[in-house]
């Protein structure tokens, strides 16, 4: 399988330019879908590579339960640096499995607690659950029954009537388009390969923008939606002191500015930097998948050849 097995570990770097540019140059719906697809393809390829290296690596361990052929010199020679890579893969795969399990457990815990919190309320269907709370907040809680919108009285009190409509349309868009699935998928991808973390962050931003655009469409007013986002942010608590102050504006001002600008195009022109970055990332994802498949096929063939039937 040669070097091909290592490629999926580093190819996620090809997606970093589009993760950076997507927010400005693609429609957020296209950006969120594209980035999620790339992240998932790259993460799966990376996981396959780790498993293959793990298989080779376990052959180094004395007394391993695998067939003798797995520690056959031919198999081991097929991977450059098989000893180091194999040992590394055992550690890495353990860490990846642990991180994914922790992410899934946390997701389940928070969702079940949130569901439990709302259990006392009468079932609301499409209506938001309005909770008396002096802290302004609004969340979309995904659930098997289509999910529920939770909004505090303080948040509603801080917004004008039409701005509330924009807020609820935004949260409804999160539920309708199942944004939590994009977020969970990319969060797990980031657990598999830390190089994919910027993609998860970019998908987080783009799902918010996507919901903003849906809300703007639902209330028929982009300025009004911009106002709702800005006002909600100003009445919410500021970032805890000590958080590094970056020169670049945070996500909320960028969302507001985007809503005050023109409706974004679906896809950037092919010759623009964003178009180029899209193609680089797509090529990187395709190369990841092919490398992983190639390495898997190579190992399978090797094992078949070295296993006496």
């Amino acid at each position: 399988m040669g070097v091909a097995v290592f490629l999926p570990l580093v190819l996620p770097l090809t997606a970093l330019p589009i993760a950076r540019l997507a927010g400005h140059h693609l429609h957020p719906r296209a950006a969120a879908r594209l980035l999620t697809a790339i992240a998932v393809a790259m993460a799966v390829s990376c996981a396959v590579s780790l498993v293959l290296l793990f298989v080779v690596g376990t052959a180094n361990i004395p007394g391993n339960p695998l067939p003798d052929s797995w520690s056959d010199p031919d198999v081991r020679d097929a991977v450059p640096f098989h000893r180091e890579a194999g040992s590394g893969a055992i550690v890495a795969l353990t860490a990846v499995v642990a991180a994914c399990a922790r992410t899934l457990l946390r997701e389940r815990r928070v969702r079940s607690r949130a569901r439990h919190a709302l259990a006392a309320l009468p079932p609301g269907g499409p209506d938001p659950a309005v909770l008396p709370d002096p802290e302004p907040y609004a969340y979309a809680l995904p659930g098997p029954d289509g999910g529920r919108i939770v909004v505090s009285t303080a948040m509603l009190a801080g917004l004008a009537e039409d701005e509330r409509a924009a807020l609820l349309a935004h949260e409804r868009a999160h539920l309708t388009h199942r944004h939590h699935r994009h977020l969970l998928a990319t969060r797990l991808a980031a657990c598999v390969n830390p190089f994919l973390r910027p993609l998860h962050r970019a998908v987080g931003y783009n799902t918010e923008r996507w919901a903003d655009e849906e809300a703007a469409g639902a209330v028929g007013d982009r300025r009004l939606t911009a106002r709702a986002v800005a006002r909600a942010a100003l009445i919410s608590r500021p970032a805890p002191a000590g958080l590094a102050a970056f020169a670049a504006p945070g996500p909320v001002p960028r969302r507001v500015a985007a809503l005050l600008g023109p409706v974004p195009h679906s896809w950037p022109p092919a010759h623009s930097p964003a178009g180029l970055a899209t193609m680089v990332a797509a090529a990187g994802a395709a190369a990841s998948v092919l490398s992983a498949l190639n390495a898997a096929a190579a190992l399978l063939i090797l094992l078949k050849l070295t296993t006496p039937l």
């Binding site: 997701e107 815990r109 928070v110 006392a120 659950a129 969340y139 911009a226 958080l243 909320v252 001002p253």
Partner: protein
């Protein structure tokens, strides 16, 4: 009211304020009428210190979840919060765990960076002009 002014027992702190608030409010909601803090303490049957129960009750009072009336030298407490109030307290428990909240729930707006506020006010003015 600052968080530091209340000093419940270490045991209570370990279990989390939110959980205790939900328990105390739950107990109050089963009361036949206005009751004393001692009644709540007995009902909880958790070995909570009287001062802890008083702290939790005061905290709930500050949030408007319970009402109180002076009776002699002590207060009689009554649950003011309805189902929505109880749900709000429970939801607050989920949201107070910031790591969990940020990892799983998508908030309508994320926290502002220090320099965001001025920028946002300028944008808000721009957005309001055309309205």
């Amino acid at each position: 009211m600052s968080e530091d002014q209340d000093t419940p027992s270490p045991r209570a702190r370990r279990r989390g304020q939110g959980e205790l608030e939900v328990q105390v409010l739950g107990a109050l909601r089963t009361a036949p009428g206005p009751v004393t803090a001692a009644w709540v303490q007995e009902r909880l049957d958790d070995g909570l210190a009287y001062t802890t129960v008083m702290t939790i009750l005061s905290r709930l009072h500050a949030k408007g979840a319970v009402s109180r009336a002076r009776a002699g030298r002590s207060y009689r407490w009554r649950a003011a919060a309805d189902a929505a109030g109880l749900a709000a307290l429970r939801m607050r428990r989920v949201l107070d765990n910031q790591a969990d909240r940020d990892a799983v729930l998508a908030s309508f707006v994320t926290a502002l960076l220090p320099q965001d506020e001025d920028l946002l006010r300028a944008l808000l003015d721009a957005a309001s002009e055309g309205a």
